[in-house]
Amino acid sequence: MSNLPVAEEKIKKFARKNGALITGIASVSSIDEEAPKGHRPSEVLEGAKSVIVVGGGKINLGAYKSPMAYIPGYISSVKVSGVHRIAFKLADFIEKEFDHYAIFSPQALSGANQPVIDDELCAIKAGLGTRAIAAYRVLNKTHGFLNYASVITTMPLKSDSPIKKPVCPAPECVEMWEESQTTPCLQVCPQCLKAEIKDGTIKKIKFNRMIHESRSQTTSTSAFQKILLEALNEKDPEKKKMMLLGDFFSRTIRSMAYNYNLSNTTIECLRVCPVEQRSYSKQKARG
């Protein structure tokens, strides 16, 4: 029988060694309570007891300093796969070291944009951050915005507690809201985001994922399908040639072939988040 506190420490140490900036553990039951039917960890792995969430893949500060709009998105997109690799290795480690079933949370989507498991919900339950207005993502007080990946296991583990005090809105955003009923992220992307702050906390968020998708997955599978459909409907063969051999469609195919620029390719609401910018303060101090 394993000594659970030691097991948890070993798991977190392994994740850290493989590049995770933070790791948290949540019980399957706490996630099942909130996740919609069809997207609960207990439905993905029979007998699942715990979910381990790793956070990392922080975008390089240099990406925010690049005047080329493609660069941050490209870096951010590549960083997502890095975090998935950590979770993949961690699942192997748990099976070999502790003799419990473990699977890397499958990110395959159904035809619609529905991930099997909401890694960000798992991150909140594992105490790694709280929901932010910006891109409706999870914000960590120290590390700002990270990418998350989860491992579902039959191993019973001691859970970390969810964070009680919301990280978003930051004090300067509350001040801005009180003066002008907006925040830096809302100001940048009013098409995707709407929110209301009351007594220093988020009262309401409205996040239009369909508009966001066109910005965060600009040259991705949906764009591919849409251009293809337009091209198939185009009667003029010369115009069809221009559509299919042109720059946008070529970049879309290249994105899919090389697995980059597929997600997270907009960082505009993160760029202006004070918590995100503070998370780089040590790097900034080094110049």
Binding site: P36, K204, R209, M210, T218, S222
Partner: protein, 89 residues
């Protein structure tokens, strides 16, 4: 032949399915495909099809505009950084 819904069925349920899903997240969480199927009394595979098409049934110009949006935002961010740095001098 892959399973598809009829255009009539798509038109009838598109807005209902989108409205119940998490395509636009506001307040209570959106429903999963399975939950939407239960609520509307539809088959799971039909709801999957309707949602899959509906989420992409937006103008292609959104994707082209997204590129312009990002370029403009990057330029705006550099302008404001330069103006902050000249104010501090």
């Amino acid at each position: 032949m892959v399973h598809v819904v009829t255009p009539e069925m798509y038109k009838k349920y598109k807005e209902k399915v989108l409205g119940l899903s998490n395509a636009i997240q506001e307040g209570e969480r959106g429903l999963s495909v399975r939950e939407i199927a239960d609520k509307l009394g539809l088959k799971l595979e039909d709801v999957k099809e309707i949602l899959s098409v509906a989420e992409k049934d937006v103008p292609l110009s959104w994707y082209e505009d997204a590129e312009r949006f990002k370029e403009e935002r990057v330029r705006a961010s550099f302008r404001s950084r330069r103006s902050r740095s000249s104010e501090s001098k």
